[in-house]
């Protein structure tokens, strides 16, 4: 048994030496996030009355859909309630990326072969990744506990809160390690892990919306930080569930790892065609081959998710909000169920912008890995970009329209409101220009800074979302917020400028045009 894990410690050291900035951000971000929230809550609610008032205003179906019920009306209760979803998302995403990188991606790149030929046990790479992932999550949770305790929130409650998101992040990471055993490509494994994580998140929201307590919630990592009841008679024994679940999943992934071949999946590779189909003769056909997996999986995922959302909106029809701050917004959007759908469709729009970046990432990958072969063919450079733009722009639009159609269909079935289909379809369609502007930014980066494109584009997306949050809190001026394409379509603004679609489309065309022109004149970055 021991020989399987030989060298795990050395590999742990090796992994920790890589991607240090990534690990650093992962370690600090949770602590930083609770600190920011605690400090701003202390400023916003200086007195007990202010807190009590806030407590009332938060009994609101829209907020509860996202965060669940507020358990304790205090600064500590408020901070834990406000931060838990974000902390689990953060820890989960970092854990997934980390696990896939050190399992399937390393295998795909041949690193595991190199390590495996050295004196390391066959299970050591996976074991080292798992242990490191848990350690980093633990350290970041400890930092968050220390930050909360130092700000005077109370140790036991802080501990419960941080253990909650720690357990959730670890189990999500372990799940990714398991998923990695099934897929031969890192991209597919990562996509599947994020898909499962997204599904858990949607179930969490659905259960919150339904208001009933679902016993299955005990198995959903997204729900643990709430179920552990921080600052409200903590239930530490709940942690036995993640412990058992995590141990089972980890054991399963190690078992599968031992069972399969290096760089093999659980499904053996099939033979393919000896001759290409007659249609495979142009860059467009090649782009379809490269983009179809991403496109079709996003299309189907959002079709199902949107339908579920639309159907579930009937739960909100009779809900009443007592939050004054939101009442104006809800009235403007035409009732609680409509406000619910509008806000969630906006979130879908934000999420589908990630597809735009991923699709543009494939174009960059084609240049980086296959550029020598493709660009030494008799093809114009702009043809290569255009063949992928079909998916960056057209694909994202198709996903948006499909989502709008399915949410409308779901709403018609769920609520019996016949007008919902056209209304929601056009609502989604109206957001497409913002995604195109994002696509324009991606192409500009492709032309101008190809080697930095991926990092900067995801950084910018994060920045746009942060700008939204800061704008809501009125901490940044309108002019600055206008730089984010999302500011032109956000439903939180009372009046959306009529010129928004035109402005965004013109921006998209200019940015994309500049990107293509720069690509035509620069060295190929292979």
């Amino acid at each position: 048994m021991k020989q399987y894990f030989h060298g795990t410690l050395s590999l742990m050291g090796l992994y920790l030496r890589q991607n240090r900035i990534f690990t650093f951000v992962w370690l600090l971000l949770p602590g930083l996030w609770v600190t920011i929230n605690t400090v701003s809550s202390l400023v916003l609610f200086p007195t007990q009355e202010a807190l009590a008032e806030m407590g009332v205003s938060l009994i609101d179906p829209l907020t509860e859909a996202m965060h669940g019920p507020l358990l304790d009306v205090s600064v500590a209760g408020f901070v834990t309630w406000r931060t838990k979803v974000f902390l689990v998302l953060l820890g989960g995403i970092f854990s997934i990326v980390y696990m896939i990188r050190h399992t399937r991606l390393a295998e795909e790149q041949g690193k595991r072969e190199l390590l495996g030929s050295n004196v390391t046990g066959s299970l050591a790479p996976l074991a080292a990744a798992l242990v490191n992932m848990v350690i980093i999550n633990a350290l970041s949770a400890i930092l968050a506990v220390l930050a909360m305790a130092a700000l005077g929130l109370g140790f036991v409650g802080s501990l419960a809160h941080c253990l909650g998101f720690f357990a959730a992040s670890c189990v999500v990471g372990i799940l990714a390690g398991l998923v990695a055993q099934f897929f031969v490509s890192a991209r597919a494994a990562r996509g599947m892990s994020f898909g499962l994580f997204g599904l858990l998140f949607c179930l969490h929201i659905l259960w919150n919306v339904s208001g009933r307590h679902n016993p299955l919630a005990y198995l959903n990592p997204m729900d643990w930080p709430l179920l552990i009841n921080p600052f409200a008679e903590e239930r530490f024994h709940l942690l036995l569930i993640p412990l058992a679940l995590g141990a089972t999943l980890a054991a399963l992934s190690l078992h599968l790892m031992a069972w399969r071949d290096v760089s093999g999946g659980l499904v053996p590779q099939r033979r393919g065609r000896a001759f290409a189909k007659p249609g495979l003769r142009s860059l467009s056909a090649l782009a379809w081959r490269r983009q179809k997996g991403l496109f079709l999986s996003w299309l189907c995922f959002y079709a199902v998710l949107s339908f579920m959302l639309g159907w579930a909106s009937y739960l909100m029809v009779s809900a009443v909000s007592s939050a004054e701050a939101l009442s104006e917004l809800i009235a403007r959007l035409g009732g609680m169920d409509r406000a619910f759908l509008t806000l969630f469709l906006y979130v879908f729009g934000l999420l589908i912008s990630v597809y735009v970046m991923m699709s543009a990432g494939i174009l960059r990958e084609e240049e980086a890995a296959k550029g020598e072969i493709v660009l030494s063919m008799p093809v114009r450079r702009e043809r290569l970009v255009l063949s992928h733009m079909v998916y960056i722009f057209g694909g994202s639009a198709a996903i948006m329209l499909m989502s709008g159609f399915c949410v409308g269909l779901g709403a018609v079935i769920g609520t019996g409101d016949d007008g919902a289909l056209t209304r929601l379809f056009f609502k989604m369609a109206g957001m497409i220009p913002a995604l195109w502007a994002i696509g324009g930014i991606a192409l500009l980066l492709f032309g101008a800074l190809p080697r930095w494109m991926t990092g900067i584009s995801y950084g910018l997306l994060t920045l746009f979302v942060l700008m939204e949050i800061f704008w809501e809190q009125q901490q940044i001026p309108e002019v600055l917020y206008a730089l984010s394409p999302f500011s032109w379509i956000t439903p939180l603004k009372a009046v959306q400028p009529a010129a928004a679609p035109a402005v965004l489309c013109v921006a998209a065309v200019l940015l994309a045009g500049a990107g293509i022109a720069l690509f035509q004149h620069r060295d190929a970055a292979v």
Binding site: V184, S185, Q269, R270, R271, G272, R273, A274, F275, A276, L280, R281, S282, L283, A285, L286, R289, R290, A369, K370, G371, E372, I373, L375, S376, M377, P378, V379, R380, H521, R522, D523, A524, V526
Partner: protein, 244 residues
């Protein structure tokens, strides 16, 4: 008219000077061996010739055209095999050979079948499962399948087994006999010695020796042992001493 003519070609990446005034002439219908140590500028020169990189200074003529400006027209008339062949994971070798041939525009089923047989490639396997040598074979077959005037090959035979190396050299000779020009960058000096008519040696971004194999033969015979490898190592030594 030479197939490739380069005068004073300079290329730098930021502060690093990759090519420092390269002069080179590849006669039409010859096999030109392009040799030099790692990092000397072989691949950079080739990428400029393919219009992948933009030159900073100098004159480059490829098949009578400008490789940057006329790239589409010129690429119809040449085929290229990169040194590190990366292929599409979810496509089979057969699909890639078909696709690249169709994209290049000159392609025949008969030649495809013949070369797949000669290189003993299983075209039904997904590229992900090919070994390095097999990936190299896919790129080589796709280059030989097309009826083009110029073959640019950047260390094309690394990873090939000795049997396939022989097939590869035979294919090169046949290409020359058919009137095609070959630019062959290689580290395998026995291969260069066996097939090349012309040789250019590049070091630190400059051509330090250029000439026909016939001219070099007398020089080679003065070496101990009398091989191109010994001559090549001497060039390095001399150049390094000159630099110091």
């Amino acid at each position: 008219m030479p197939a490739i003519e380069i005068h004073g070609l300079t290329k730098h990446f930021g502060k690093t000077v990759a090519l420092n005034g390269v002069n080179l002439k590849v006669p039409e219908g010859s096999i030109y061996g392009f040799i030099g140590p790692n990092g000397a500028g072989k691949s950079t020169t080739i990428r400029v010739l393919l219009g992948l990189l933009k030159k900073n200074a100098g004159e480059v003529k490829l098949l009578g055209g400008d490789p940057w400006r006329d790239n589409v027209e010129l690429h119809r008339r040449l085929a290229y095999v990169p040194s590190d062949v990366q292929l599409w994971d979810n496509m089979t070798g057969g699909e890639i050979i078909d696709f690249l041939g169709r994209l290049r525009g000159s392609y025949s089923k008969e030649r495809r079948a013949a070369f797949i047989e000669r290189f003993d490639l299983d075209p039904t396997k997904k590229c992900k499962t090919y070994s390095k040598g097999n990936r190299q074979k896919v790129a080589l077959i796709s280059a030989f399948v097309s009826d083009v005037e110029l073959l640019i090959l950047d260390e094309p035979s690394t990873g090939l087994d000795p049997l396939m190396e022989g097939v590869f050299q035979q294919c090169l000779k046949e290409a020359r006999d058919a009137g095609k020009t070959v630019l062959l960058s290689s580290h395998i000096l026995s291969e260069v010695e066996a097939v090349c008519d012309q040789i250019g040696v590049i070091r630190a971004g400059k051509i330090i020796e250029e000439g026909s194999m016939e001219e070099l033969k007398t020089l080679i015979h003065q070496q101990t042992p009398p091989t191109l490898e010994a001559l090549f190592l001497n060039y390095y030594k001399r150049d390094a001493e000159r630099g110091a």
